[in-house]
């Protein structure tokens, strides 16, 4: 578990109300909250549970960098992010991103872009467990080709 300002990585269940409450101020008229929840199906296959692993210190730093970039680019001031690690059952929340701003457009665009960048650069990994196996998401090109022709 690591917490820095309004960024938190924790193996406890996330509480969206508390995370959203952090960005509510009476100068803000719009609060946009994103919840990432674990889905029952992944590419048509039934998922039993998920596990998240984080390189916590770097993940926290990268999230803080994203917040700084987004604040500068979209002119928003209030951002809170929480990511869960460890086992996350189906239907539970793995990610909460809350953005508040005086007007709605900036809050929507900023929140969306935070989630996009998070998925590109923050060292957190998701493992899907199926009834007959498991896989680390996004690591498909790390499979060894049995014929040895992959380059």
């Amino acid at each position: 578990m690591i917490k820095a300002g309004m960024i938190e990585i924790t193996d406890l269940p996330l509480e969206p109300e508390k995370i959203t409450a952090q960005v509510c101020k009476d100068t803000n008229g719009a609060v946009v909250t994103f919840l990432g929840t674990t889905r029952l199906y992944s590419e048509g296959k039934k998922v039993v549970r998920l596990e998240y692993e984080a390189y916590e210190s770097m993940a926290c730093k990268k999230l803080a960098e994203i917040c700084q970039e987004i604040k500068a680019e979209f002119g928003v001031e209030d951002i809170a992010i929480a990511h869960r690690t460890g086992v996350v059952d189906i239907g539970q929340i793995s990610l909460v991103v809350a953005v508040a701003s005086p007007h709605r457009k900036e809050a929507f665009l900023a929140c969306h872009e935070i989630v996009n960048r998070l998925k590109e650069t923050v060292p957190i990994w998701k493992k899907e467990f199926f009834e007959d196996g498991s896989r680390w998401v996004a690591c498909d090109d790390h499979q060894f080709n049995p014929q040895g022709h992959k380059h």
């Binding site: 770097m58 060292p123 990994w125 690591c139 790390h142």
Partner: protein
Amino acid sequence: MLRYCSVVYNNPMQLNVRFFALYRERAGRSTDTVQLPEEATVADLVREVRRRFPRLAPPGVNIVVAVNTEYASSDKKLRPGDEICLIPPVSGG
């Protein structure tokens, strides 16, 4: 080559490497210690780690490295005490 070997054995850097997720599972461990010559780069480190753990990633796949919680290019020089982590493709969210 001779000089290289002498550096390795006479004045080596000992570096701790952390593995996460897929790499942790493939390495069968969370950390490892590798010895590299002074002034070794990220590329040297990756070469050494691949030698020690050949099943980490297929030869054609780039292994991303973070040094001191920052993504590092392959020509970055390493120093004793650096926090080095191997970063498989991320998938948070």
